[in-house]
């Protein structure tokens, strides 16, 4: 056997194991980090090595063993797709049936190759695999180069907007609690698409002297776009601007909202890991790290390992949300310096891990937009917990400012046939409620950004007129 055949054999295995992660990375350059591809590749390489050793003990031939290993990895890394094909033909098959059938076919392949013993054609087959996967990797990397370069060149865009604050020595500013509820539907949207009357929550807010806008819309349904603009107190980015996720994230480093608060003597209490202040991204104290991470999960979701993933990361999200909800019970009425709390709660956004009572939901319905009770349960849970939180703040810290906003309403609600039914305008309508020291504040119809400008104008005696936005 030539040395080059062995090299090609090994190389073909490495390329096949690397392809799924590299492919996903090149498709998600803006969101994913390069280091994230290594763990999925190592997992696949480890499995390939184990399979290779077992088969080599039977076949005693590197080329033939490589061919069998390649077939194994090809099926293993695309198991979910193969399983769907089997299930579409035989309705009653389960995961383990497909696994067993594929193993049976694979063992027969190994037996067949063992009997044939010849490896001439398989050398060619391994070369073809090597060329195909090598070519696919290079092709995808070339396509991704512009985005990779753009990402590497992205620089901090923290606007140095100078807001002149009319603050004298004796002015004391109130504590400021900003709470963003991700995908919390507006009063009209939840009524229209879920037949749920949330007027009890409206009445609750009004009773606490909240100013509530029933007709607020944002310019986008993308969380990063919306919240980046809120943090910048202006429409600095938009959906159609062609910016990568990583470039948008640069606008979230020391954003003007935090800067303005800091310059006015506020202590920054940042619970969001999507915003950085003073070189540090925010975090939830004592929170849990995800088990797999989004990227690893994306790669492994297609493999035969997917049942092992269960909902471990979703459970971590659930746990961290509960911790953050507890953190928001903390009030700062006794603080010497005013405190600015920024919290971005990832509920009622999917995964749906809370039912109405806060219990864990059905694992199979974590992203089920067809079954309306999934989103609605998490929505009602969110409402109940937010009621507790704001009641607590208003009671203990009545001179404070509380902003309750959502970035967008439920977007992916489906009818019984699985068709998405939410109109863009309805998805852009949002919860927008402000408690301003118990005082009235006219925020009717304002976007989230203009609501914040309105609040800061009043609070810091600034002249921040409404900014225009194209819907």
């Amino acid at each position: 056997m030539k040395k080059s055949d062995i090299v090609i054999s090994i190389l073909s295995i490495i390329l096949m194991c690397a392809f799924p992660a590299i492919f996903l990375y090149t498709r998600n350059v803006g969101e994913a980090e390069l280091y994230e591809i290594f763990m999925p590749i190592l997992v696949l390489l480890f499995i390939a090595a184990v399979v290779f050793i077992i088969i080599y003990l039977i076949l005693r031939n590197v080329v033939n063993t490589t061919f069998c290993t390649l077939i194994f990895i090809l099926i293993f890394s695309n198991f979910a797709i193969v399983e769907d094909i089997f299930k579409s033909i035989f309705n009653n098959l389960k995961y383990w049936h497909v696994l067993e059938i594929l193993l049976f076919i694979f063992i027969n392949l190994v037996i067949f190759i063992y009997k044939k013993r010849s490896s001439n054609k398989l050398i060619q087959a391994n070369k073809v695999f090597c060329i195909i996967f090598g070519g696919l990797i290079i092709f995808n990397l070339i396509l991704a180069i512009p985005n990779i370069v753009k990402k590497l060149g992205a620089e901090s865009n923290n606007a140095s907007i100078e807001y002149i604050t009319q603050k004298d020595e004796e002015t004391t500013f109130p504590n400021f609690y900003y709470i963003l509820l991700d995908e919390y539907s507006s009063f009209s949207s939840i009524k229209k698409y879920y037949s749920y009357d949330n007027s009890q929550f409206y009445d609750f807010l009004k009773d606490l002297n909240f100013n509530v806008s029933l007709d607020s819309h944002n310019d986008s349904i993308d969380t990063i776009t919306i919240t980046t603009n809120i943090l910048n107190l202006d429409y600095v980015i938009s959906d159609g601007d062609g910016l990568l996720h990583a470039e948008k994230m640069k606008y979230r480093e020391n954003p003007p909202m935090f800067d303005l608060m800091f310059k006015n003597g506020y202590e920054i209490n940042n619970y969001s890991n999507l915003v950085s202040w003073d070189g540090k991204y925010g975090s939830i104290p004592d929170s849990y790290d995800s088990v797999f991470g989004d990227f690893m999960k994306m790669v492994l979701d297609n493999t035969a390992l997917y049942p092992l993933l269960v909902a471990k990361d979703e459970m971590v999200d659930r746990q961290n949300t509960l911790i953050l909800l507890d953190c928001l019970k903390q009030t700062y009425e006794s603080s010497v310096t005013p405190v600015f709390t920024y919290a971005h709660l990832a509920i009622p956004h999917a995964p749906f891990v809370f039912d109405e009572e806060g219990n864990m939901t059905n694992f199979s319905e974590l992203n089920d937009w067809k079954n309306k009770s999934c989103y609605l349960g998490q929505y009602i849970f969110t409402t109940n917990r937010i009621e507790e939180i704001v009641r607590n703040i208003v009671t203990k810290d009545p001179d404070s400012i509380i902003v309750l906003q959502s970035d967008h309403s439920a977007r992916w609600t489906q009818d019984e046939n699985g068709n998405e039914i939410v109109l863009n305008e309805d998805a852009r309508s949002v919860l927008n409620a402000v408690y301003y020291r118990g005082e009235e504040l006219d925020i009717d119809g304002l976007t989230n950004v203009n609501t914040m400008r309105c609040i800061f104008s009043r609070l810091f005696s600034l002249n921040l007129p409404e900014v225009e936005v194209n819907f």
Binding site: K94, H97, S195, F363, S364
Partner: protein, 300 residues
């Protein structure tokens, strides 16, 4: 016949593969330690009492082992000892019925129901089981409460499950194009008593709730269907229902046989349009026989 050793091993390998493939659901249930329903003949059970019941928790997990969890309380009135009491969940399909024994939990119900003859405290039940072995179909979830030799009965929970290629999930009663009912108006029986109320359920649907029974016959295992026909039209839409206990009806007619006569179904609002007139037929199915009640005239 001379079979080589290798061929023999290969034949055994194939047979083993087929064996594991055929029984893999059973292996999964065994290795995961899940409970699994056993097929029973429902006609061998004794029903001589009405079951008062509640379902406190009910969840259908569309997970890999297609689990269902249920708990609550159930009892039949009895004055005799019920130390051997059992409560089983019955899954009653079109052709077969399956049973899962539940775990009994102490629940003292006497304080809540002072007028009932309740013996002891073994009235809470709870179980979680896999539905992997169930064939595809629609299953009614029943409770079979055995207190003692004198008192046992079927309780209808008002819930159904549907098992299909997508797994198991809760079944909501609905319009059925696939049920084979030919409305035989010459066979309408005055011995069928019924009532139906049409209630606003949500923006899209009405809830049709009512009761139906055949005089002097038990409602324990009857199935109720509704036929809705617009006046002047030949077309009838048929709906299946879920059944549940109606003590109020049994009390009103002073006949315990009618206890399980309640039913619910859901009708889309475009099927009962305001300003139009409809005939609503109540059809009772018992042991394969259909019984038709007098049509109810309804103006939407």
């Amino acid at each position: 016949m001379n079979i080589s050793k290798n061929k023999l091993i290969y034949i055994i390998f194939i047979l083993l593969f087929i064996f594991i493939l055929v029984f893999s659901n059973n292996f999964v249930i065994y290795f995961t330690g899940k409970k699994s329903p056993k097929e029973i003949d429902i006609n061998t059970l004794t029903f001589n009492s009405n079951v008062s019941l509640a379902v406190d928790f009910y969840n259908v997990y569309n997970n890999m082992t297609e689990d269902v969890a249920i708990n609550g309380w159930a009892f039949c009135e009895t004055e005799d000892s019920n130390e051997n009491k059992t409560i089983s969940v019955l899954l009653r399909g079109d052709k077969k019925t399956y049973s899962v024994k539940t775990d009994l939990i102490s629940r003292n119900l006497q304080d809540s129901f002072p007028d009932y003859k309740i013996y002891g405290t073994n009235h809470g039940y709870g179980t979680e089981f896999s539905t992997l072995i169930l064939p595809n179909g629609i299953y009614e979830v029943l409770l079979y409460d055995y207190e003692n030799e004198s008192n046992s009965g079927i309780g209808r929970t008002g819930r159904k499950l549907i098992k299909n290629k997508d797994g198991i999930k809760e079944y909501m009663p609905q319009i059925r194009d696939d049920i084979d009912i030919e409305l035989d108006l010459s066979n309408i029986s005055s011995s069928i008593k019924n009532s139906v109320s049409i209630l606003e359920f949500n923006e899209d649907e009405f809830l049709l709730r009512g009761w139906a029974f055949i005089e002097n016959e038990t409602c324990d295992l009857q199935n109720v269907f509704l036929g809705i026909q617009e006046s002047g039209s030949d077309e009838i839409d048929f709906y299946d229902t879920v059944s549940f206990g109606r003590k109020d009806t049994a009390d009103y007619f002073s006949n315990d046989l009618y206890y399980n006569c309640g039913f619910d179904t859901y009708v889309r609002k475009d099927k009962l349009v305001a300003g139009k007139k409809y005939n609503i037929y109540i059809i009772i199915e018992k042991q394969g026989n259909l019984y038709y009640g007098m049509p109810i005239n309804y103006s939407a």
